[in-house]
Symmetry: C2
Subunit: 403 residues, 2 copies
Amino acid sequence: MRLLEELLEDQRAKALLVLARASHEACLAPFIGPARLHESLLIWPRDRPPRLAYLSPLERDEAAASGIRPLSPEELDVARAVQEGYDPVELWSHVVARAAERAGVTPGRVALAGGLDAGLAVAVCDRLAADGWSFVPGAGIVERLAKRKDAATVGAVCRVAAGAGDALRRVAALLAAAHAGDGVLELGGEALTVGRLRREIALVLAHHRLEQPEGNIVAPAEEGAVPHTSGSDPRPLRPGESLIVDLFPRRRLFADVTRTFCVGPPSDELAAAHAAVRRALERARADARPGVRGWQLQETVCELFAERGYETPISHPGSERGYVHGLGHGVGWRVHEYPSFRRKSGDEGRLEAGDVFTLEPGLYHPEAGWAVRLEDLHALNDDGLELLTPLPYDLDPRAWRQL
Amino acid sequence: MRLLEELLEDQRAKALLVLARASHEACLAPFIGPARLHESLLIWPRDRPPRLAYLSPLERDEAAASGIRPLSPEELDVARAVQEGYDPVELWSHVVARAAERAGVTPGRVALAGGLDAGLAVAVCDRLAADGWSFVPGAGIVERLAKRKDAATVGAVCRVAAGAGDALRRVAALLAAAHAGDGVLELGGEALTVGRLRREIALVLAHHRLEQPEGNIVAPAEEGAVPHTSGSDPRPLRPGESLIVDLFPRRRLFADVTRTFCVGPPSDELAAAHAAVRRALERARADARPGVRGWQLQETVCELFAERGYETPISHPGSERGYVHGLGHGVGWRVHEYPSFRRKSGDEGRLEAGDVFTLEPGLYHPEAGWAVRLEDLHALNDDGLELLTPLPYDLDPRAWRQL
């Protein structure tokens, strides 16, 4: 793997070392296929294939499914260490040293990443330093390796996105069937609440075998106006208000998609914001090509919004009104990964074929209590941009039915 | 909180510091109620209430839901740091130092825990060391604080367990309705596979608003005989073979429960193992009282199995046949937490009121290709042991229908 060599060279590190509590962690998952492990480590020397060490002998079949040559607990002498009462710091120090030896990596500088508890990692590295090891942050290397997805990985994300799309269609169907009674939306004689939508979303996703380990956002009006507020289950939905539904489920890989609804006629302000966001999304999509920086797209979108009189992070840094966040982010092993759309970024801020990323302009007005966000997920292929979330954009859920 | 003071005193640490990538991490979740945050940190001085710092201004409402006095990104001067292009090591070093200052903690020795990337944590602590900070592992302190659950937390686990129980009943119903055709179980004209059971489990759990962030185990015969093998979706189920179904779903808190099925008459060997496991479970449950060590229960169960001629981790350390694992583990913020059932353990190895834990004896025979595990979840209350998973134990799924 040429890229790994380059990245390690940049850091003057002789290997990448990932210490994981569980294999579904984003630092390990890109490398080990369907294997499901608990405590485990990956050591990847600059010029040789990686080795995967695992600590529980119960997981030998799982480790074999990784496609990486395993280092078993027997080879690492784990049972003796446990027998002798090693504490976690002693055990991990022992395992790292032994795994490195087996992988042919002598003490020196390595790039470290992974979800092992921070306090444990600090103590383990402290102990290993006495034997000549030193450590530089390696999470960026993992993210760079994970940025460019192969066709199978993009396909897997696409299927997750399809499940999320089904859940959004179900939300639209429920909203379209609701009636406005006494200022609150009702369905089947009961108030339609955030919690009820969440239950339906969970059922549709479960049907697709999707999980929501990071939750979701179902946020009406004032709740949606603070972009990361997830929304309160008991909150009844009301006609005329905005409703942001942002889903980011996972089946090994994540997808991420957002739509905004309004049952009944929207205010002029909300309708205008929706049109502006829609236009910004189309413009960003038209400009997303290999070689373009994420930040360039953000600048274009900010200009568009500014022309229409909205505040932006460029014109009004720190404002809570108008367009208040970044334009997008990579999606895959994490909900937020590379490519980056930040101003300050290196190669990870440049779009390239194999990237999977969102574009998600939005407008927010906490005082007035409305919000609009439209988020699509895309794969950048050699022959252009592929939309992984082909869904309606309409505020009116009844318009979704006709498609 | 007296216990925190004692635990910090033991480590000669002046505060507990938790660095989190996301608030649902087990090191942070026990302390912050329903709040959902991304990058955040908790600093808890020995003699004062904790403070919760978060890095994204978009999450101010979520932070407020934690019940802990927040430290906002504005107070931590995050925007300026980002503006000036701080890298993650610089940003976190800055944020930790600033949060400590605001919480009234001067440089010195602190207990560190949390899911911040290991390589990043090592670099941050290295940098802070120059200013007089030093770090000892703090995950054990968090786990000790999380061990004893209050009534509301036990109630929450109990509701998760009820959802898992419903999913097991659904599995039993499907197995009971299946027909043996051509050596393979069929239902509705299709082969009944591991994957089909998994889909039904996911639907039932979704109905209860439960997630499976750690997956599940649906493992027939030879797959179940390796205790942590999760089971292969395409694998068709067969009459007469064992099927282990081990579910550990989450809704903020985890539950954990296992049953073993056999459609059609079991072999004598399987039936005898099932009876032995059932008896071991009852015996362990009868002995589980406040003050008893988990390891004592493990010894009793090993004796019971040894009397019946099965190998155990005490009689045959490292064996892959017979009883090959620990008796149980605490459950709550993680699938595996305190109390511990290991031989080498301190106070965390002693049962006390407020503990929530599994008892899960099992017997395995990889060569013969069968396995039995029965796992119940319990809460140890002041007035005795409460069973949180009241379900049938029968191998025969038809027996489940009659209850």
